[in-house]
Symmetry: C2
Subunit: 263 residues, 2 copies
């Protein structure tokens, strides 16, 4: 396949709550296998890492409501995200006929990250990503070979240390990099139907959000607080070249139900 | 790089005892990074999986002196081998300037395996490998892209389940597959200098073993019991097309000290 043979790329993020639900994950994996290639999957972590830390009696340190990744915690998330969750998803995708390859950001130096400054708050081995530094050529090589990359949110500092990154940020950075290969459509899949006017009314999904309507929705207080970082993140991705970002339920990957965010 | 640009491939296996020794591993990783590419690394597991199983109170079941891989144990070895050990080695290699990519056998379906028959003994999720089924084309794609594959011994059954395989067998199967791409030289690195006439005499390393001399060494009782499976495994690899197999100390990857096994 030549580079010009790639007409569009689907980049899909699957959230931790779906990873924690075996039936929902099974349905999602089956649908993702059916999605036309070339495509890329980024998965969150789920609660398994927290449970493993508890069993191993590794104390959880929180600062300002956010978890600190000390060395023991880094080992745990590396084992769970890059090991267990990533390889289980890859094995399931292979069984469903999708030629998946599981990757951390260290593999083929595909997602180098910068360890977050310990000032003002030291979050430990946490890495922030610059989409401009992603190894886009290698991602293109995989896609052209008919292979589907499956990323966990473990990255590295290029100096020998792994880092724990935010899965939404990994997904956005990968989508922005992918947009330099071919027009890229991003799908954020989680346990809700999309951005809703009324969280209790399934028919209230907002079909489309553009910058003007987003401003109105925020001013009217319609968009709930937890959704704002996701929508902001989506706008940053479309401003950086992604065609659109759709926020949708993990059961609806192959359907149109969801909220499309675009310019 | 064209396929014809690959003149020879080095396939290196590093044993579990070296993985368990941080200083020895650091030295080995630094040497492996200096080894001319194209090259492939296969690593064993070490004792970390056993220690993690103990901490998690997962009972170890042994049959005929061999460990049974039940579902909990499979999760542990997947976390430790495919997650922690594999990604830590990859991050260290990246820091040393080697563009490594960590892989399990499920990734890109590169090492499909057959779950061992439960009759006469059920060892659980244990997979045996057929070197003829290895995804050689994908390995060649990586090598031609200047990427160095780093394999753990986790494989898959192509039906959705991961499997625990023997790292020596993975290494041999990968080397035999690699020999169909270009002439392949294999290096088994561990904590001894090679095959020795006298285990207490470091100067007694046997420089070369060919089938005739192996027969004599065995008849004379010179080769010790624990070494026989390693040498048999090496002869199977050279009989299947690998140029030579060198058994050597992990500190001697870049030197000639060791035992060369060839036809």
């Amino acid at each position: 396949m030549k580079m010009s043979d790639i007409n569009q790329i689907n980049v899909v993020k699957i959230g931790g709550n779906v990873i924690d639900n075996p039936d929902a994950l099974e349905r999602f994996v089956s649908d993702f296998a059916k999605l036309p290639a070339p495509k890329i999957l980024i998965h969150g972590g789920g609660k398994l890492a927290t449970r493993l830390s508890e069993k191993l009696e590794i104390p959880t340190q929180m600062i300002d409501g956010r978890r600190v990744t000390d060395r023991d915690t880094l080992d745990v998330v590396t084992m769970v995200y890059a090991g267990l969750v990533n390889k289980q998803i890859v094995a399931k995708l292979q069984a469903a006929g999708c030629n998946a390859i599981g990757l951390s950001g260290a593999d083929a130096n595909v997602i180098p990250a910068l360890r977050r400054s310990p000032i003002p708050v030291d979050f430990g081995f946490v890495g922030d990503i610059d989409s401009g530094k992603i190894n886009t050529a290698f991602i293109a090589t995989l896609l052209k070979a008919g292979v589907t990359p499956v990323f966990c949110a473990i990255t590295h500092d290029t100096e020998g240390s792994l880092l724990n990154s935010n899965a939404d940020s990994v997904a956005s950075a990968v989508a922005v990099a992918s947009a330099t290969i071919a027009p890229t459509y991003m799908h954020f899949c989680f346990e809700k139907l999309g951005v809703m006017c009324n969280i209790d009314d399934e028919s209230s999904v907002i079909k489309e959000i553009i910058p003007d309507s987003y401003r109105e929705l925020r001013e009217a207080g319609v968009v709930n607080k937890g959704m704002i970082p996701k929508i902001d993140n989506a706008f940053r991705a479309v401003e950086a070249g992604v065609q659109s970002v759709t926020i949708k339920h993990s059961d609806n990957l192959l359907s149109d139900i969801g909220t499309v965010i675009k310019l």
